[in-house]
């Protein structure tokens, strides 16, 4: 061995100091398992939220549909009730019924139109007391049976000369 312990020179040597070498290290591997789980979880969550939302909207719409059905039924019921009451009103307000009630209270029809002129206080027409009790038309207020269907014509015994048209 030689007495001179020399430093081993770099082959492409000059005397300038060498820069510090970059230290290599093992890059910690990013966990592939964690990343691949997060994405599906998000998607699943979104889908679940969407489904729940859809379900809620559906339930709300169904409830509205039921309410609609209920209200429609109620409207129908009230419509029928209105018709029933209208029939009753028509019956009570009919001239036939009013005449019967009026007659029951002792009222008689007035067959002599007379008017009072409010501006002058003058009576227009000829006032005549209405006859007591059912008048000429009074008895007509009580419903009477409709006459029977007219019988077929009986053949004439003989026909006479033209002699009509008397008034």
């Amino acid at each position: 061995m030689s007495s001179v312990i020399g430093r081993r020179e770099p082959t492409r040597g000059n005397s300038a100091p060498l820069p510090a070498r970059t230290k290599l290290a093992v890059v910690p591997e990013r966990s592939p398992t964690r990343r691949s789980r997060a994405f599906p979880a998000t998607v699943m969550a979104l889908m679940a939220a969407g489904l729940v939302g859809l379900l809620l909207v559906n339930i709300a719409m169904q409830n509205t549909a039921f309410e609609l059905a209920q209200l429609t039924a109620r409207a129908d019921h009230l419509h029928v009730r209105q018709q029933k009451l209208q029939l009753e009103v028509d019956r009570l307000g009919s001239p036939e019924h009013l005449a019967q009630v009026a007659q029951a209270q002792g009222m008689v029809p007035n067959l002599n139109p007379v008017f009072l002129d409010l501006a002058t206080g003058k009576v227009v027409g000829t006032p005549t007391p209405a006859p007591p009790g059912p008048g000429p038309a009074g008895s007509t207020l009580v419903p009477e049976p409709t006459p029977q269907q007219s019988k077929p014509l009986t053949p004439p015994r003989r026909s006479g000369p033209v002699r009509g048209g008397q008034g």
């Binding site: 549909a65 029928v80 029939l87 007509t140 053949p155 026909s159 033209v162 009509g164 048209g165 008034g167």
Partner: protein, 584 residues
């Protein structure tokens, strides 16, 4: 080495998978093309028929109202009660007991129906209002008795009962009009049915949120008539009393608003209650005597003859006519209705006394053509077009066929036939100052939105001059005085113009006059110097010897008094004019 082999194998697998997927997808595509492109219509039709249900949405029938909007006919919701006897025969007595209680059905016939054999469908009761049917169905359900069902069966109600029944008409079980206005305006009233299509589950339940297509029904158009319900009711009752007391075959009364031609009341006896037709229809229920029955008008027609004579300038109220006891024309001996020697009557006197012979002599002053022309202009011999079904035009022979006897008898109202509407409209023309207005009964159409579309105005034309009409009115005023034939028609305080009619009746089978059978009538208007209404009353074949002046004139008086009060028409206040002399 092994790595490379593995790569090659996986690439191979990938290609195979791709091929398989492509093959499957191409199968799908082919099937899709087949479904959508080739068989699309067939499958769509199948889907529609399987997965959806079509429902008819019935249009509501339009109502019929009077001139003030009061309902004369309206539709209400009703159902038919039906039963499946295979389900009900075991429990028939129990079911019938419940139905009898709620619906006033006959117990025994209901039991019999519930036990009908060899069928699965019977009607128990038709046209049941929904509220009654609901009560009965609820009771059946509570009692646990199945087999009774309901189906839609709308009910037409007539709130006025028999008021204007013949005019308004009726509808049949299928809801279509059978008579009167219900028949004449059926297409207007009935509207257009709509339909709805729903998707249904295989079990037939409607899928709530599935798509549905709905075509809304078009409700029918209602009719507003010119009838005044209350006046109509009063006239109906008054006329019925007269028909019963005179034992007439039928009676009719019409009131026309003279300036508009609107028919205010159009009563008829016999009538009927359309709410209780009992399933069996009588011919009288479908007849509107006022437009469908013709008769000889008798002396009321003299008004038209004298209208023609005055308009032609041949006669004035004071024209002197010497009336002989009798006239012989074409071999026929003609008399007045009362025996008399030679009378010296004025034209007004001829009208007031209703002399046939005087009318014949006066009518000879105009030709057949001229008289016929006037009568046709007054609306005789042709339908008036009032808008009611089956209107008759009456009978008026063409003037070239007239012999002397025809001219003579037509002049006093025999030998021609008219309807109540024709004659009423003709007298109304005289009241309207000589201008004829076509009579109408429908004034407007009630739109579903509540508005009213007015009917086209009636046609109108002048028949006689205003001056001639005034002269004829003067002659008619004498009729209701104590010297005339109808003092019972006079209304105290008012000037009333009128004319009685008592015509011999023609047997429709033999076509000959029947001795002792008459058609009696009265037509008039008030106030005579400013007429508003014309009322015409006809009683056919009275059996108590009544005349127009004794039986028809009082009916006119009562109807007219009621109308003058109701419409607030005071007396015109004019002094009773100096009477036209009746004799000379």
């Amino acid at each position: 080495m092994s790595l490379r082999r593995r790569e090659r194998r996986s690439a191979f697998r990938l290609r195979v998978c791709l091929l398989v997927i492509a093959f499957v997808l191409s199968l799908f595509a082919a099937r899709l093309f087949q479904l959508q492109g080739l068989d699309a219509n067939a499958y769509a039709a199948m889907a529609t028929s399987e997965g959806s249900q079509a429902v008819t949405l019935h249009a509501e029938r339009g109502g019929i109202t009077d001139r003030f909007g009061v309902e004369l006919a309206s539709s209400i919701d009703a159902v038919a009660l039906t039963a499946d006897p295979t389900m009900t025969s075991a429990n028939a007595p129990a079911i019938a007991a419940i139905l009898t209680k709620h619906l006033r059905l006959d117990y025994f016939s209901t039991v019999a129906r519930l036990r009908t054999s060899n069928t699965r469908f019977v009607y128990l009761q038709r046209h049941v209002p929904v509220w009654r049917a609901d009560a009965a169905m609820a009771a059946l359900q509570t009692a646990g008795l199945p087999g009774v069902f309901t189906e839609r069966d709308p009910l037409r109600t007539y709130p006025g009962g028999d008021v204007a029944a013949n005019l308004v008409g009726i509808v049949g079980d299928d809801g279509s009009g059978l008579s009167g206005l219900e028949y004449q305006y059926d297409s207007t009233l009935s509207g257009t049915d709509g339909h709805a299509t729903y998707e249904v589950s295989p079990a037939g339940e409607r899928i709530p949120l599935a798509s549905a297509s709905v075509v809304q029904p078009q409700p029918g158009i209602g009719l507003q008539t010119t009838i005044d319900r209350d006046a109509q009711w009063y006239a109906d009752r008054r006329l019925r009393q007269a028909v019963l007391s005179t034992r007439s075959d039928w009676g009719a009364a019409i009131t026309i608003d003279v300036s508009s031609g609107q028919i205010v009341q159009f009563s008829q006896v016999p009538s009927f209650d359309p709410n209780h037709t009992g399933g069996a229809l009588q011919p009288s229920q479908l007849t509107i005597n006022g437009v469908q029955t013709v008769y000889e008008p008798g002396s009321v027609e003299k008004v038209l003859t004298f209208s023609a004579l005055t308009d032609a300038g041949r006669v004035t109220p004071r024209t002197r006519i010497a009336v002989p006891p009798t006239l012989r024309i074409d071999g026929h001996q003609i008399y007045d209705d009362w025996s008399h020697g030679t009378l010296h009557l004025t034209a007004a006197g001829v009208v007031a006394k209703s002399s046939n012979l005087g009318t014949i002599l006066a009518s000879r002053r105009i030709s057949d053509q001229r008289l016929s022309g006037y009568l046709r202009s007054f609306g005789l011999g042709a339908p008036t077009g009032v808008g009611l079904p089956g209107e008759s035009g009456g009978l008026l022979a063409p003037p070239q066929d007239w012999a002397d006897i025809n001219h003579a008898t037509i002049a006093f109202g025999q030998g021609l036939s008219v309807t109540v509407t024709q004659m009423g409209a003709a007298i109304a023309a005289v009241a309207n100052g000589g201008r004829y207005v076509q009579p109408t009964v429908v004034s407007g159409y009630l739109q579903p939105d509540g508005s009213v579309r007015p009917a086209p105005p009636p046609s109108t034309h002048r028949v006689i001059s205003k001056h001639a009409a005034a002269m004829v009115t003067k002659m008619m005023e004498a009729v209701t005085t104590s010297d005339g034939t109808a003092p019972l028609a006079a209304i105290p305080g008012y000037l009333v113009a009128g004319k009685t009619g008592t015509a011999q009746r023609v047997d429709p089978i033999t076509g000959r006059y029947v001795q002792g059978q008459r058609t009696i009538s009265f037509a008039g208007f008030a106030p005579a110097d400013a007429p508003r209404f014309m009322t015409y009353v006809v009683l056919d074949r009275p059996r108590d010897g009544s005349f127009g002046g004794t039986a028809a004139a009082p009916v006119f008086h009562d109807i007219m008094s009621m109308l003058l009060q109701r419409y607030g028409i005071p007396p015109t206040g004019s002094k009773q004019p100096p009477k036209e002399p009746l004799t000379w």
